[in-house]
Amino acid sequence: MSLRNYLDKIRPNFEEGGKLHAFKSVFDGFDSFLYVSSETSRSGVSIHDAIDSKRIMSLVVLALVPAMLFGMYNIGYQNAAAAGKLAEAGCWGMFLYGLLALLPNILVSYIVGLGIEFAWAQWKGEEIQEGYLVSGILIPLIIPVTTPLWILVLAVAFAVIFTKEIFGGTGMNIFNVALAARAFLFFSYPSRMTGDSVWVARDSIFGLGYTLPDGFTMATPLGQIGQGVTVNASLQDMITGLIPGSVGETSVIAIAIGAAILLWTDIASWKTMLSVFLGGTVMGLLFQATGATPVQWYEHLVLGGFCFGAVFMATDPVTSARTETGKWFYGFFIGAMAIIIRVLNPGYPEGMMLAILFGNMFAPLIDYCVVQSNISKRAKRAK
């Protein structure tokens, strides 16, 4: 407990009148991140969960780790495969290359995002809110690994300021912050977010990995479907995740481990998660039956960001529907919408981002309708 003692020892410096009082919010932020705060509300009746939101965030980050680690391995794997040197590149070599390729993105995302949060809290004299812990790791995982860092800085700043802080900070945002960052990139710099030349890291780093020729292109399976080309990835690759794509989204297995953690700890709602897959399945079957798409319905569920979105994005407790019945509608809507966009809109090979942002927008309406129908049902019973 020496860390606890140390924190208690330096605390007076940050109290009113202390010489570091200006940094009180920073101190409080670190303190409550490291140890559960013992402060409780002083007025009104409040119900407290056993774990606070910093602990919840940490668990979500933990659940994202398998997808992130696999993503790193896959970066190296794709690079080696593209260079045609899969046999000589060792497993660890590929992982290390991926780690080095992804690390700058993660660092930039956290430094910029947390920097803005800290500065904002300091400016407003508020406590530092912990929401960015999850967004900071989500953002590098849902964009291509080759995204230039200065673009990433812009996207993170845009997302934190315009989708979170101006709505009142963590817990008040209408749209998922990480997805807003991706949407910003998607609409601002489409040439770096879609197409067939952005998905594979192409430079060798510290002698690891291979430098690919300039004209090298490699489309994601969904991109190939969008262009009407036959997909050359096997179903097995799609599930293990050895396909090009955004960093964290490729492996269904790694995401399933994360989903298990989220469901076991009761952080994500199983209703939302299940109904997203239900919506995707129904729509996939429908399009398959009408012949609108050459893709099997189960391939739709394992390709692209569908699983990642369903597990980590749609279930975001802040932006999803909050009523239990509403979660079914919300999830189903997202799943169905994602497949509709993929199949019917030739401009967007992937629809999960837009579908979830759309779902975020309708979540309050869904909640309202559920609550109102409950009220009228009970009012009828009272007669």
Binding site: P148, W150, I151, F184, F187, S188, Y189, P190, S191, R192
Partner: protein, 209 residues
């Protein structure tokens, strides 16, 4: 009659800042989002609205005592529509490419809330000269915001201003890219929000009691 009395100067200068039609009254947002993707159409649109507001204000103010109260909106619309048609025809003759860029938004000046607002709120109860100043002031206040948003959007969205390339090629060679979202109306809404944010923080006094 003092043409530039304190009162008249205020009628002119208030809409530029503290009573700005876009920033404070939040009128004319639709066209502000639609025509500001480049600087040139934004300037032309701002001028067109300024001229139309000023002269419709004067005309309505001249005939304000003869307009029957129950059909005043119709009379106002006729005046505005006539002026809009004139401006639209002049634009087509003089600056055809800009008028194509502005497309329906020139015609839609008729429905611009700023115009009807000024006619109803000011010209119907004031003499022609103050009405003229009020129209010019409101039009310029509107144009000011359009030009600001249009300049930012064109600069970051296309790297140019008034169609001239501002950013040198070596920026692009170094990896810089134009921001595609700046050319979309969604970004105009966000930029407009930022302008209002800054304005409220520094100028607008009503909230700070």
């Amino acid at each position: 009659m003092d043409l530039f009395s304190k009162q008249n100067r205020e009628v002119f200068s208030n809409p530029l800042n503290l009573d700005n039609p876009i920033l404070v009254q939040v009128l004319g947002i639709c066209s502000a989002l639609a025509v500001t993707s480049q600087l040139k159409p934004a300037i032309v649109m701002g001028l067109a609205v300024t001229i139309i507001t000023a002269f419709s204000n004067v005309i309505i103010s001249l005939i304000r005592n003869t307009i029957p109260n129950r059909i005043r909106i119709i009379v106002q619309l006729v005046v505005v529509a006539a002026l809009v048609t004139i401006v639209s025809q002049i634009l087509k003759a003089v600056a055809y490419d800009v008028s194509v860029q502005l497309s329906v938004y020139v015609g839609l000046i008729i429905t611009n809330c700023i115009l009807m607002g000024r006619l109803e709120a000011f010209a119907m109860t004031n003499r022609p000269w103050p009405s003229f100043l009020d129209g010019i002031g409101n039009g310029l206040g509107y144009a000011l915001i359009l030009v600001t948003v249009g300049a930012v959007r064109e600069f970051f969205g296309r790297g140019s201003l008034l169609g001239f390339k501002i950013l040198p090629q070596r920026f692009y060679d170094a990896g810089y890219m134009d921001n595609g979202m700046m050319t979309m109306p969604a970004m105009a809404l966000i930029l407009l929000g930022c302008v209002i944010w800054v304005h409220r923080a520094y100028f607008y006094k009503e909230d700070k009691k």
